[in-house]
């Protein structure tokens, strides 16, 4: 028998008497605006929220947020950068990106998370090699809690997907919180509905 069959046979021989799978009920996160909850949760996780109106100049906003940035790489047609994602052959080429820009598929009010997949990112590493990340999020695309986030099974057909909640962080030395561990140093959510390029 193969290792696989050995393990499966041993597992089946050892399984305790069958117990049923419980039904999940809907857990509703109580009251208030999802937008406010999202904002509070994201800020608690070290993220920032920038306000923008439907017709605001997003390129100008990014320039104002990161005046020192030299390399700006955008994965959304809504904002132009100066580094084209389409030319990237290996993800490591994004190592010098100062600011990455991406539009999230949706957000989660409970945790302040945004959902990013290969469709939104173009090159997955953009969300980790960039020093800073700007995430556009439609205020109408915010679900209540993580149960709601996982309810739509189709979202999880993506090859890669991540709930990103604020910047990368560590507290591995004496519990001192550091934002900018190995990945992005800051995450700024811009709450603005999608627009044509």
């Amino acid at each position: 028998m193969s290792t696989r069959d050995d393990i499966l046979a041993k597992v089946r021989a050892g399984e305790p008497p069958a117990l049923p799978l419980p039904e999940l009920r809907a857990f509703v996160t109580p009251g208030g605006s999802k937008l406010d909850a999202f904002r509070t949760a994201l800020e608690r996780m070290g993220g920032k929220v920038a306000d923008a109106s439907a017709d605001s100049d997003l390129r100008g906003l990014v320039r104002k947020l990161f005046p020192e940035a030299k390399v700006v790489c955008s994965a959304t047609t809504e904002v132009a950068g100066n580094r084209a994602l389409g030319d990237v052959k290996a993800p490591a080429e994004l190592a010098d990106v100062d600011v990455g820009i991406v539009r999230a598929a949706f957000g989660v009010a409970e945790t302040g998370s945004v959902w990013l997949t290969e469709s939104e990112l173009g090159v997955n590493a953009l969300a980790f090699l960039s020093q800073h990340l700007v995430v556009l999020l439609d205020p109408d695309h915010i679900v209540g809690n993580m149960h709601d986030a996982y309810r739509d099974r189709d979202r999880f057909d993506a090859a890669y997907g991540v709930f990103m909640t604020g910047p990368s962080a560590t507290a591995d030395i004496e519990g001192v919180l550091i934002h900018g561990a190995q990945g992005i140093r800051s995450l700024t959510a811009v709450l603005v509905p999608p627009r044509r390029a």
Binding site: S2, T3, D6, I7, L8, K10, V11, R12, A13, G14, E15, P16, A18, L19, P20, L21, P22, L24, F27, A41, R44, M45, A92, A95, E110, T111, E118, N124, A125, F128, L129, N145, M146, A149, Y150, R151, R153, D157, A159, G161, V162, F163, M164, T165, G166, P167, S168, A169, T170, A171, D172, I173, E174, G175, V176, G180, A181, Q182, G183, I184
Partner: protein, 461 residues
């Protein structure tokens, strides 16, 4: 195999009082944060019941769910391998790396690879293995195993890290500023991400219905390890399987709240298919898990989601440090897992507990940890794995406690005894309780003497 003597090993940790005080405080702080965020969720207790039931259902159908996971992972384009023990796991990983001529491996934290002692195995064969989690990296550079499953270097102070980094990655020996140390590791690690031939993660969850590997981290290192190299290897214990995507809602809501007191980890990553032009390999590892599944009293420990809440709350763990357990898994969860690996080696660990039950009450998947600790003690006593002194003390105590007459005589004389016994007898090597403790002053009369004097009239009738 050398027996682990937890009490002896912890004495070294206890002597470094500044470390001990910080360790105790830091972990209790995590416990308090966990209380605050869990109490803020009205459905917390309901989620614990659900999480426990989902895990129990999955484990009692584990064969089917493993096959479903494998089927879907293969359909996704991943390659699935099986390993029955640590040696097979390490060999499988080496074979995958060799087939790709991979020489550098960047990896996220995985307790499974620590359990399999994979790093020294690969390093001996010429592979450069880079731990990319800050805490795990500190431990790698200091040539020590992690002391905690979530915060691997929690037993170290910033000055210790400054010493380790100065000796290994060339930081300024006099600078123990935490921002400086963390930034130094970031700068040191980054080139490895960019150049590595292969990346590796463990798994927090493996979803059967989609073949997805889910990894919960904070530093961004797991996503860098997977999304840059052309080869990705996920090492997954077979107990990590859960049935459906919707079940992630339950577990993800509890994991980081229990571990760190934050509502979610900064990153909850779902790896399902290899990127175009790259390969994804999944190694499903048994290494004693199927044995534990067949143990009627102990299979519940397989529900564990490795949050570390039981460690943070445990007074013995907080005051003895993870390294004193001499095992990958320390604290209450380690105490019930390790003896299943090797009863002789880890036979002293179930005694590293006060049986206060705090571990059980914070466990997000409702493992009856303290009951299992007690059951392991019975197993160990039955198999005569108790040290001689403990055996003799228990035999004497058993005699006295089983006879009310002997018990009363002993208690009534004990108070007088304590005051007059020579210190040599009270605080000798034979009496473990005398070490680091002064016996409190004995009350002037026993409870029974008080009761006989104060009981209401007719209480006996």
């Amino acid at each position: 195999m050398k027996r682990i003597d937890h009490a002896e090993a912890s004495s070294k940790f206890i002597k470094a009082t500044d470390h001990l005080d910080f360790h105790d405080k830091r972990l209790w702080d995590l416990r308090k944060k966990r209380d605050r965020v869990s109490e803020a969720l009205p459905e917390w207790e309901e989620l614990r019941v659900l999480a426990s039931a989902i895990k129990e259902h999955t484990l009692t159908h584990l064969g089917d769910y493993l096959e479903e996971f494998e089927r879907n992972a293969i359909a996704n384009g991943a390659q699935v391998h099986w390993a029955k023990d640590a040696a097979e796991h390490n060999q499988v990983v080496l074979d995958i790396l060799s087939a790709h001529r991979a020489q550098t491996l960047v990896k996220a934290k995985s307790m499974l690879t620590d359990e399999c002692e994979m790093r020294p195995f690969l390093e001996k064969r010429g592979i450069v293995v880079m731990e990319t989690d800050l805490g795990e990296r500190i431990q790698q550079l200091d040539d020590e195993p992690p002391s905690h499953i979530v915060v691997p270097a929690v037993h170290k102070l910033r000055t210790d890290v400054a010493r380790v980094f100065a000796d290994t990655i060339g930081t300024d020996r006099k600078n123990s500023d935490v921002h400086y140390l963390a930034e130094s590791q970031r700068q040191h690690t980054r080139p490895y991400f960019l150049k590595a031939d292969a990346g590796m993660t463990g798994a927090n969850f493996a979803v059967a219905e989609t073949g997805t590997v889910v990894v919960c981290t904070n530093e961004g290192n797991a996503d860098l390890s997977v999304n840059l190299p052309r080869l990705y290897i996920a090492c997954v214990g077979i107990e990590k399987v859960i049935p459906k995507i919707e079940h992630l809602g339950v577990f993800v809501r509890m994991l980081s709240r229990s571990a760190l007191g934050s509502p979610i980890t900064q990153l909850t990553s779902h790896f399902r298919k290899p990127r175009k032009g790259t390969e994804m390999h999944i190694v499903l590892v048994d290494n004693g898990r199927s044995d534990r599944l067949a143990m009627p009293d102990f299979w519940y420990s397989l529900k564990c989601i490795r949050c570390g809440a039981c460690m943070n709350t445990c007074p013995v763990y907080r005051r003895s440090g993870g390294l004193s357990y001499g095992a990958t898994y320390s604290g209450p969860i380690g105490v019930i897992i390790d003896p299943a690996f090797d009863l002789r080696k880890y036979g002293s660990l179930p005694f590293a507990s006060t049986l206060n039950g705090s571990c059980t009450s914070v466990c997000p998947v409702k493992i009856n940890i303290h009951e299992q600790i007690y059951k392991w003690r019975q197993v160990i006593a039955e198999r005569r794995q108790l040290p001689f002194v403990k055996q003799e003390a228990m035999r004497a105590a058993g005699k006295v406690l089983s006879s009310p007459k002997l018990y009363r005589a002993a208690v009534e004389t004990a108070g007088a005894g304590v005051e007059h016994l020579p210190r040599l007898m009270m605080y000798s090597r034979l009496n473990a309780w005398g070490r680091q403790r002064e016996v409190p002053a004995a009350p002037p009369y026993t409870f029974r003497q008080w009761y006989l004097k104060n009981r209401p009239l007719g209480a006996d009738k």
